[in-house]
């Protein structure tokens, strides 16, 4: 792979890596590993760690996928590899 398509792939890997770090943090870190720490904070009637495990991580996953789709479409155009 050479030139711009190599750069396209690198940009893609960078984007996915950042998004997967967030994916890991909200679910595994906030939802499980640090749950007791975050549960010290209560927002409304829900402890924060519990909220991340049962609601927050799912909402974040949604945002991550749509951000990915949008950013990838931009990358496709920038590197001129988009469809049609």
């Amino acid at each position: 792979m050479s030139g711009s398509s190599g750069d396209y792939w690198k940009a893609n890997i960078r984007l996915v890596s950042i998004l997967l770090v967030i994916w890991f943090v909200v679910s595994y870190l906030f939802g499980i590993i640090l749950v007791d720490v975050l549960n010290q904070i209560q927002i409304g009637g829900v402890k924060l760690g519990f909220w991340f495990a049962q609601q927050g991580s799912i909402f974040t996953f949604l945002i991550l996928i749509f951000v990915y789709a949008k950013k990838m479409n931009e990358l496709d155009r920038k590197f001129n590899v988009h469809e049609d």
């Binding site: 792979m1 398509s5 396209y8 792939w9 893609n12 996915v16 998004l19 997967l20 994916w23 679910s27 595994y28 939802g31 499980i32 590993i33 749950v35 007791d36 549960n39 927002i43 409304g44 009637g45 829900v46 402890k47 519990f50 909220w51 495990a53 049962q54 609601q55 991580s57 799912i58 909402f59 996953f61 949604l62 991550l64 996928i65 749509f66 990915y68 789709a69 990838m72 479409n73 496709d76 590899v81 988009h82 469809e83």
Partner: protein
């Protein structure tokens, strides 16, 4: 109108709708049969994927699982949604660009190896068949409970409906039926949830109700649930009971398994473009999240409602004869049972098991009718000693099947009959939509990968389409038979299906895209190593081929390697797959030039054309 008539009306109405769609969306080419002609709008595909994914278990069992496990059930919520992030970013767009019909086809071509393709076909068929048994059972159970027809008749009716739209319409028929089924199941799920949240907390949005104060302003709903449960000797609802290590591993296994399940992946072959595949994964998760973020509210509120109803305002129990009618109705189905341990005629619920071995064994009269006791309750033969659990105010006297949390929810919350009828139609929609998706994955693996790909490459399209329909019909019959005569291991299969998908299919697909130098020997060695270790680990603790008594070690934490439960092993199997594949590929010949070009080609969106079978 009575409940029975209404339920027949709702279920019959939805079935007519599915058949109507089948006739409208007939498939006339293999492209339409396998991938709906690649013309499905990304939002529509998202909706179909949501129905495809959310099974009888998601609809009926998950809220109950949450109600009984509390915080620890978060692994299912995160595991079964987080997989879509992996699917969207690591697999779906690239497999769509590849532009073929099946998952084994990608593995076979990318690794220029018929062996790899056959291993993939075997994993796909085992994972999908085990999964489909549960759906067929779900159909039979839903018919039995709501329409009071025999289990076998229920399965037969379900089979016939799937037969009509899946054999006629293939992926095209299945796609449009799944969209209709999604609408039915999501209404059926959210309407009772809205009512319950409104009654309990005054907030009509269940996701917000979860964090709201109770309607009487006395406390936050979850705080109240925590304190009620600790008073009864249970651990607090929002507190962790298992180990973080197993929770992390199980969540990861479910996520990787979700991303590797073929019946989900092939849904992304049906959209017109690569960028549609990316967006479509997002839409799928939107539609899934509507149910998955409602479930924690349903679970916690149903638990609180149930405890309050059973233990009464003074928390000392309610006289059996004074309980609402739903208690007796579900006792008749065997999902509830009561034994009056302290002989006060009142029903009490607390920590501990009311029956030996956990589940009640009901006693029948000679004519087969249920035997009744002094309060007209069903008699059971295996009451426990009735000891008070530590921290509990009294001995637990009831058994509650967790499926009740969704099935009986409308009755517990005193909702109108039409809501109950809707729940019946929703449960059937969830089971049928998932069954159809699985059956398509199985039949396309048989007609496209085995028949056309391996045994008879020169088969004409017309004949392949016919073979696809026959394979579909055969798969339906096998699934129906296994649904009626479920092998003893039916309850264990979820671990197996996710373990197979996580340890064999996902790593092979991911490395095929992200690691250009991965070769055929490495990929096959990795798949076999991941698959082998996962199967062995599950069999050692759960019995070889799930035959009771053939396990080598007792299935408990003391005997697990590093404390890893068999259900969580898929992630470890995946890791073994990655390592073995990379090491083996390093010491064997690099893949040929044209394969490396193929990988470069699937990495860029431009040039994704219509589907081709060649």
């Amino acid at each position: 109108m009575d409940l029975q008539t209404l339920t027949y009306l709702f279920v019959g109405g939805t079935f007519l709708l599915y058949i109507g769609i089948a006739i409208w969306a007939r498939a006339s080419t293999t492209g339409e049969f396998y991938v709906a002609g690649k013309g499905v709008h990304p939002v529509a595909n998202g909706m179909a994927t949501a129905a495809d994914w959310m099974s009888a278990a998601s609809f009926i069992s998950m809220a109950g699982l949450i109600a009984f496990k509390g915080y620890d059930a978060s692994v299912y919520l995160m595991g079964w949604t987080g997989g879509y992030v992996l699917l969207a970013m690591l697999l779906a767009p690239y497999l769509r660009k590849f532009g073929k019909f099946t998952v084994p086809e990608f593995i076979g071509e990318r690794y220029y190896s018929q062996t790899a393709r056959i291993v993939a076909v075997i994993c796909l068929i085992v994972a999908s068949i085990t999964y489909v048994i549960g759906q067929m059972k779900g159909v039979g159970v839903a018919f039995g409970r709501f329409l009071e027809v025999d289990f076998e008749v229920g399965v037969l009716v379900g089979m016939s409906i799937v037969f009509i739209y899946a054999v006629l319409g293939g992926m095209k028929g299945i796609t449009y039926t799944q969209i209709a089924q999604y609408c039915v199941l999501i209404f059926a799920y959210t309407i009772p949830a809205i009512f319950i949240s409104l009654t309990l907390t005054g907030n009509p949005v269940p996701q917000l109700g979860l964090g709201s104060e109770l309607a009487d302003g006395s406390a936050y709903m979850l705080d109240k649930l925590d304190s009620v449960m600790t008073d009864l000797g249970f651990k607090a609802y929002t507190v962790q009971k298992g180990t973080s290590f197993n929770m992390v591993l199980l969540t990861l296994s479910l996520m990787i398994g979700t991303a590797g399940l073929p019946h989900v992946i092939i849904r992304f072959f049906t959209v017109p473009k690569v960028r549609d595949a990316r967006a479509s994964a997002g839409w799928a998760l939107v539609f899934i999240a509507i149910l998955y973020t409602t479930a924690p509210a349903v679970g916690s509120m149903a638990r609180l409602n149930m405890i309050n109803t059973v233990n009464g305002v003074d928390s000392q129990g309610t006289a059996y004869t004074a309980l609402p009618s739903w208690f007796k109705r579900w006792e008749n189905t065997g999902l509830l049972a009561w034994y009056d341990h302290n002989g006060d005629g009142k029903v009490q619920h607390a920590a501990g098991s009311a029956f030996d071995g956990g589940k009640p064994k009901f006693v029948s009269n000679e004519d087969g009718s249920p035997k009744r006791g002094g309060h007209d309750e069903r008699v059971v033969s295996n009451p426990s000693e009735g000891k008070r659990a530590e921290g509990a105010p009294f001995a637990n006297e009831i058994y509650v099947d967790r499926d009740i949390m969704v099935l009986a929810n409308p009755e517990i919350a005193d909702l109108p009959f039409w809501v109950i009828a809707l729940v019946a139609a929703g449960g059937l929609a969830a089971a049928l939509s998932t069954a159809a998706g699985l059956l398509l994955a199985i039949s396309s693996a048989i007609s496209h990968d085995l028949l056309k790909g391996i045994f008879k490459p020169d088969i004409s399209e017309k004949h392949e389409l016919m073979a696809g329909r026959i394979a579909m019909a055969g798969a339906i019959v096998v699934a129906g038979y296994l649904g009626m005569n479920p092998p003893g291991f039916a309850a264990q299969v979820v671990a197996l299906a996710f373990g197979l998908a996580a340890s064999s299919i996902f790593p092979a697909l991911m490395m095929g895209i992200f690691y250009k130098k991965m070769n055929n020997t490495g990929a096959v060695a990795g798949m076999l190593a991941g698959l082998g270790t996962t199967l062995i680990y599950i069999f050692v603790y759960k019995g070889w081929f799930f035959i009771p008594g053939t396990n080598n070690l007792p299935n408990d934490a003391a005997n697990w390697v590093m404390g890893i439960q068999p259900e969580s092993f898929g992630a470890v199997g995946a890791l073994i797959n990655f390592i073995v594949a990379i090491v083996v590929s390093k010491v064997t010949a690099a893949p040929p030039e044209h394969i490396q070009h193929l990988v470069e080609d699937i990495r860029v969106p431009r040039g994704a054309g219509a589907a081709s079978g060649h």
